[in-house]
Amino acid sequence: MVTLIREDNITAGGILMDNHLILAAGILGTTGASLNRMLSNGAGAVVTKSIGPSPKEGHKGPCVYVMDGAVLNAMGLPNPSSDFIEELNVLKDKPVIASIFGADPDEFHEVASWFKGKVRGFELNVSCPHAQGYGAQIGCNPGLVLECTRAVSRTGLPVWVKLTPNVTDIKESGIAAERGGASAVVAINTLKAMRISTDLRRPVLGNLTGGLSGPAIFPVALRCVFELYKALNIPVIGCGGVSSADNVIEMMMAGASAVEIGSAVLDRNDIFEKIAGDLYSEEGEKASDIIGCAHE
């Protein structure tokens, strides 16, 4: 297997982190303690649960359905809003990225302002496929993506824009983010999907449809990273279905500067330690030689 050599000062999209593996937004990211645990368990950086302008309870359950090799979720962006800031007290100087959302550029800017001095950067959720008025409803409008990115860029902190694959051309969203001043794009959020219980004759999620994550979406995520790497000048952060060190290498070969991992924590809570253990070795190659190498 191709491995990486451990390097100091790993940065991607303007953010310094401990390794190339990042906890994805919304995965065990509701509390400071939980984020801290994932850092202790080997994550090189963590993204918080997406925080919005006012508290939200999210959708009624079922919110999550676990399948063989895939997860379906429709959480509905539950979040404590500004109350979340105090969760960060236990994460001082740690590689934390705040995931934020809003309905328009002003809301994005307002939420971002709460985090100044508390996080290393932002990830804009313009890609959640099951939140009325938020998320992908912004992400599929390149003009809005540009404006929201610009609004948060004013904070001076690095801004990553997390894109939805549920669009005709993800490159358009990426270009809008780049124009808006993003330091990186993150690809991808979940694929819009659903399952039905045939015994109960009902969609298995309270919200009927939701977002698909986990190994099943890896080939789609990889394609998005590949396309964005080619189309953009800013770094791409890979996300979607990563569950092994080889998947990480594959994402990096497609063009990812670093990789986010979400659903794979279901397999084992110490998934970051496990993957990092396999990913790095003395004989490893430099990340810069791997990133994008499949474009030859």
């Binding site: 509701t30 303690a33 645990r37 939200k56 309870e57 009624k60 359950g61 999550v64 539950p78 236990v90």
Partner: protein
């Protein structure tokens, strides 16, 4: 990741346990160990966590929307059940169970499996007493009511003074968090906090360990996956236990609101 199916079950029987508590018996059994729970999908309403009160039942207190809807259901109605979830009790040789209110539900299987020697059962008043007949046959049952309408007048923790705590290898506890904190304090004073195993309740959105809504401070332990049963020595170090919890949005709620 492996599938966690939502198994369709039919309600076979509904038992009125107390004015506020009913047991719903399913038409199929689940393999589980006492203290493990299930996510109960009440179609069109919500999915909520419930301890398994036996291999084919849950025992539910009516407290809000989803439980009220459940109370309106009839035999023959269907539910979706994800089970078993979480880690249950690890009973040693001689087991003491301490329950408050509907907290008796996840402890009952210990008694049914013959794994429980003594059972301390507390509740508000006589009419809220759960499983009295069954537990009295299977265990050495001691009862306390808040209003003194039956058994000892006072809290279930009072009953702990009457027995030789140190003779038990394991003390399994479930009930309101303030009551569990009281039990833990007694055990700690007796130097046997480690023998205590406490079944916690936190707001659960996913129930499978991915969303983070049920995490405990300061270690971020997930009640749904690392718990719901935790050892006493772990909880002694918890800055959150008996002090606060979080609601559906993740905002902190002080312990007085924790049931």
């Amino acid at each position: 990741m492996n599938e966690i199916p939502s198994v369709a079950v039919k309600i076979k029987e509904i038992i009125d346990e107390t004015p506020t508590i009913k047991t719903f018996v399913f038409d199929r059994e689940f393999e589980f160990s006492a203290g493990q729970f299930c996510m109960v999908w009440i179609l069109g309403v919500d999915e909520i966590p419930m301890g398994l009160s036996s291999s084919d039942s849950i025992t539910v207190q009516k407290v809000g929307d989803a439980t009220s809807k459940l109370f309106m259901m009839k035999p023959g109605d269907k539910l979706g059940i994800k089970a078993p979830l979480g880690n249950g009790f690890s009973p040693g040789k001689k087991v003491l169970a301490i329950a408050g209110g509907v907290g008796a539900a996840p402890l009952r299987p210990l008694a049914q499996k013959g794994q429980c020697d003594t059972f301390l059962l507390g509740c508000r008043n006589r009419s809220e007493l759960l499983y009295e007949k069954e537990l009295s046959e299977l265990t050495n049952l001691h009862i306390a009511t808040d209003d003194g309408s039956y058994g000892h007048h006072g809290f279930v923790t009072d009953l702990m003074g009457d027995i030789d705590l140190k003779s038990f290898d394991t003390i399994c506890v479930c009930g309101p968090e303030i009551m569990m904190a009281g039990v833990l304090k007694v055990l700690n004073e007796a130097g046997i906090a480690k023998r205590g195993q406490f079944s916690l309740v936190r707001y659960m959105k996913c129930g499978v360990g991915i969303c983070g809504s049920c995490c405990l401070d300061p270690d971020g332990l997930r009640v749904c996956r690392d718990g719901p049963v935790f050892f006493g020595d772990i909880l002694l170090k918890s800055s959150e236990f008996s002090k606060y919890s979080r609601d559906a949005s993740g905002r902190k709620v002080s312990a007085s609101n924790v049931h």
